[in-house]
Symmetry: C2
Subunit: 144 residues, 2 copies
């Protein structure tokens, strides 16, 4: 991991489909050199995956919420969340609420329906998202 790798990660985080040729031109390096560095970053697991971000709103999923749950069976809740079309993230937490789900539904009514199902696993506390000033920021290691 050096400054060049960090530059490569910066570009790839902004646009995962950039060609290695173009990336090479941007950082003054030949395409095979970039290609080899990326291969090693993948091999080391520093690059975890390449994902396409689909707009939830454009597919009718206009309601986003975080649901805190106080449950005594994380396993069942995980299974429930895995098969739900509305759940996009699940986290096991420390604290009074030991579980959090991020859900995206197409109406407040369907969120309500989801919460009814959820409540059978424990007490819940729901926070709906009004806006996301920062939906995702890539990692720019502290070396810069």
């Amino acid at each position: 991991m050096d400054q060049i790798d960090l530059k490569i990660l910066d570009f790839l985080q902004q646009n995962a489909r950039i060609s290695f040729s173009e990336l090479g031109r941007a950082i003054n390096m030949t395409q095979p050199a970039v290609s080899e560095r990326v291969r090693k970053l993948e091999e080391k697991g520093i690059i975890d995956s390449y994902r396409t971000i689909v707009s939830p709103e454009k597919l009718g999923k206009t309601v986003t919420a975080f649901i805190l749950v106080q449950t005594n069976d994380c396993g069942k809740l995980t299974a429930f969340g895995s098969q739900s079309q509305d759940v996009v993230e699940m986290h096991q937490l420390s604290g009074q609420f030991n579980f959090m789900l991020k859900v995206q539904t197409h109406s407040m009514q369907s969120l309500n329906t989801f919460l009814s199902l959820c409540s059978q696993y424990g007490f819940t506390s729901t926070m709906t998202v009004l806006s996301s000033p920062l939906a995702f920021k890539g990692i720019t290691s502290e070396l810069d």
Copy 2:
């Protein structure tokens, strides 16, 4: 948006760097046809972006936490979060806590330091992440 577009989105969400040729072979369609459909999905904004996911752990960021904040100046908090290397997400919420930050730091000590800075914007409540059974699930529209 039809079943073919959904299949394309499925593949692209799993691997944003798949070639259109390979994608075409997978769904029995020629490369130019796939290319054109993807172009339109981008144009419509259904495809928002292509991102490379970098493993925080592999870069030493081993501590992940969600910080709820009760603040009366979301603007200042947003500005603070934008310039912090540790903040990866920010959401404005409805409820008692009207703001949530997702942070990734390299130790509990640095999380503590971050919280001190954060507390000047309002009351905070921190939940550290023990595990993420589902870090991200792509959207598979309810048509399937």
